[in-house]
Symmetry: C2
Subunit: 298 residues, 2 copies
Amino acid sequence: MTDPDFDARKARAAAWFRDLRDRITAAFEALEDAPADAMPSHAVAERAPGRFELRETRRDEGRGGGGLMSVMRGGRVFEKVGVNISTVHGTLGARAQAAMAARGVPGMDRDPRFWASGISLVAHMQNPHVPAVHMNTRMFWTPGAWWFGGGADLNPCIEYPIDTDHFHAALQAACDAHAPDYYARFKAWADEYFFIPHRGRARGVGGIFYDDLNTGDWEADFAFTQAVGAAFLPAFLPLVERRRPQPWTEAEREAQLVHRGLYAEYNLVYDRGTKFGLETGHDPDAVLMSLPPLAKWV
Amino acid sequence: MTDPDFDARKARAAAWFRDLRDRITAAFEALEDAPADAMPSHAVAERAPGRFELRETRRDEGRGGGGLMSVMRGGRVFEKVGVNISTVHGTLGARAQAAMAARGVPGMDRDPRFWASGISLVAHMQNPHVPAVHMNTRMFWTPGAWWFGGGADLNPCIEYPIDTDHFHAALQAACDAHAPDYYARFKAWADEYFFIPHRGRARGVGGIFYDDLNTGDWEADFAFTQAVGAAFLPAFLPLVERRRPQPWTEAEREAQLVHRGLYAEYNLVYDRGTKFGLETGHDPDAVLMSLPPLAKWV
């Protein structure tokens, strides 16, 4: 290979995550601008449309890379939404190196360098009828290997089968265009991955999840990862538009806060991205941006 | 030894944790009964005094033991407080057995039976000037070993050195009566244990923490564990009485909710008791009773 460090490909992947971030933040700000008659008669409708605040993040001293954190808080539609991109590189600590070597990443026992870039998004909504959502895709590189991973899942506190079906159908279309077995495999993986063992239940109504994706064809795997990212807005925006005008009760708001407690439990106890971020010394506010603005444990 | 299974001692320890629970829940309900002039002029003062609700908990099918969960919610002084006792026994799973054997627990490689009893308490207060608090003590038995562990720590969102000093002094008195080095050792252990690495800060203002306590003298170690439990009310009640009448601002309430987010992060990511409880299949509501009634991540 003429580019053993994959520099051109790394740059293309990082640029894609950046571009996807720009599209999503623009679409979310546009949702905030909806006319008042598209909103229920709750106090949130009278607020100024929410806007993203941006902050650059950096890893601990001596470790390479950083990211851009975009957070919108207290909007008319979004109570809190974070869209983070990051591109980091360096040398894995002994523990992470051992874990990767044990997972079978080739060459990891000899050379613990790594590079990773990705986008991560979690949205907590004002209206309990609008589902919370998560999406994340990333590319990982080590001197002996590369792979893609990611997924998206829907987390309604009030479940509407028609919304769940739409979300899954959009992800399925992205999968089907790349390989006939992807959707079934990655849906099953999401069902397993987004499960909360100590509660004996899923955190939401699923979606897709994949990791360690390396078919040997980088272009194809990158194209699939782009397709998953590109499917996110068509999967999610129609649900926001359908549910946004629906008024809600105090009891529904309570159910939303309790459901968010579950989400926080999942993220702090089980989520791989959270563990990786905290253990590799990334900015804790960026890693924990996924945590809900307000959550309740009864 | 005529009682190789320690049955009489196990019964005494379990009875003590039950007795301590009764004393603490009675004292907390008495705090709720304070006259209105001992309360600030907030809406909480007009509520009915809070009372504990009790629920028996049981471990998953086929595993022995259970406990008693006592929770008071939405009181005048306590926003949410849980006082749990449990006495459980059975056979450790392969993973927990390996972890204990690796820690050097004698005989663990051959016979994975265990017995454990303890009390665990976390209080989240209405008034941001009154500190949140945690206390936990327990006895652990295996066929080849026994030990005690526990501690208490103070978690104010607004720090008052006079309160911190009082809390530490009460714990120090309990320690000093048993061994001259206990306080210094166990305070240092708490500083290390109640630290949140990803935030680079302690979760509160410390206290004491100890584990694996086995001096070879069961009576002495049990007496010390009783002393720690008995020191809790004198350490904490005066702080509640001093701060309870103090009015608070919206900004102080916000600071309290954000501080509780830190507490939830700590408990879900690092706490040993939480991990042990979730992994051994104890009732998740009992294990997670420590989580705040309402928490905020900005």
